[in-house]
């Protein structure tokens, strides 16, 4: 135990290196969020950055203090005596109140953004149904009537893999696809369903994530702001093929979207029904 002071110095060093590595790699964005491609994602990224700044400062501060104390007050001689010190109310109150204040700010900002993102979609939003199954995504678009036909797992069969109610008139003209296309800069509201187990509709570039829950319909609305192809990985463990459950999302201009949509089959053709 005599020479234990060296470990204090080492510990201080290690912690400083840790802080440096953290600050450089994160501050310099060596690895970062996927490039943003949606409107509401801006809010998420902002909050992320703010939180990073706050927690980053705390991280640096606490670690530097830790390093300093460990280095400075390591045992050096037998005569050295620790400073008997019980508590310091003003100091303790300070470091209770400051985090409390900071957190109040984060809570306010966070919940406000949350309600905006999760709030009701705009009237003109394009409804799309997203159906999760082991291990693929399927998509249903409304036809001319602008309404999605009913979905229920009990309608699922070889010929009706989408599980759309064949008797629902609103569904006849609906269009089905296995790739998700959405128009640029137009609000889209995804109604998310599942045929079997939990899945999660995750579009990293669009900052979209919402679980698909069997037995209920969940919802997420967004406005895509960048043309491009994006992955839709599944983000909720759903079985052996969870890691290969990946969909494709294409964000394109209105015109390209409409012409793509026109080429997709409708429920009626798929089920061999009349329009």
């Amino acid at each position: 135990m005599e020479r234990s002071g060296i470990h204090g110095i080492l510990f201080a060093l290690a912690v400083v290196v840790l802080v440096l590595v953290g600050v450089i790699t994160i501050g310099d964005r060596w690895w970062w969020l996927p490039p943003l491609a949606s409107v509401h994602g801006g809010q998420i990224d902002n909050l992320f950055t703010i939180t990073l700044a706050i927690t980053g400062s705390v991280f640096v501060l606490v670690h530097l203090l830790l390093a300093y104390f460990v280095w400075r007050y390591r045992e050096r001689s037998a005569e050295q005596r620790a400073y008997f010190y019980l508590e310091n109310r003003p100091l303790e109150v300070t470091y209770t109140l400051i985090p409390a204040l900071v957190l109040t700010g984060l809570i306010t900002a966070g919940t406000r953004a949350w309600f905006e993102i999760q709030g009701p979609p705009p009237q003109n939003a394009l409804p799309i149904r997203v159906i999760g199954e082991q291990f693929a995504w399927r998509f249903q678009y409304p036809g001319a009537d602008g309404q999605l036909g009913r979905f229920h797992p009990r309608f699922v069969s070889e010929s009706n893999p989408f599980g759309i109610d064949p008797d629902d008139p609103a569904g006849r003209d609906d269009i089905v696809a296995t790739e998700l296309h959405v128009p640029l800069n137009r609000p889209v509201v995804a109604y998310i369903d599942s045929k079997d187990v939990l899945h999660s509709f995750f579009v990293p570039a669009l900052r979209v994530k919402q679980d698909a829950v069997p037995g209920m319909t969940t919802r997420f609305w967004f406005v895509a702001s960048q043309v491009g192809m994006y992955d839709i990985p599944c983000a909720e463990l759903c079985g052996q093929g969870h890691y290969i459950m990946r969909g494709q999302m294409v964000v394109e201009s209105d015109a390209a979207f409409e012409s793509w949509l026109a080429q997709q089959p409708t429920i009626a053709t798929m089920l061999g029904l009349s329009q």
Binding site: M216, T217, T218
Partner: protein, 107 residues
């Protein structure tokens, strides 16, 4: 001398109610149960029913805990220590049931 300074042993039941009290409580439990039963069979509905039945159930629970389970004769600290955690069940209720409703809405 030093080892055991605080009161020891047969403390239990040092204070308790006379048998008559138990009989009275028993009687009240019958009465409250009967009222609850009638609240149901006269087909009250809606919030009124829920509130009435909840209040009745809590009254019965209170009587059982206070007299039969002796909380009335225990130290207040024990009463608090037992009742306070039940708040967490209320928290659970408040967390789960509205979510049940939300699920129903989104079926």
């Amino acid at each position: 001398m030093a080892d055991v300074a605080r009161p020891q042993g047969e403390q239990v039941g040092a204070v308790h109610a006379p048998i008559r009290t138990y009989l009275t409580v028993w009687g009240w439990l019958f009465v409250l149960s009967a009222i609850a039963y009638f609240v149901d069979i006269i087909h009250l509905t809606g919030w009124l029913k829920v509130v009435l039945l909840t209040v009745l159930a809590l009254m019965k629970a209170g009587l059982i805990m206070a007299f039969f389970m002796h909380l009335r004769f225990e130290r207040l600290t024990l009463v608090y220590a037992i009742v306070a955690p039940l708040i967490l069940l209320v928290a659970m209720l408040v967390g789960l049931v509205p979510d049940g409703v939300a699920v129903f809405v989104r079926r």
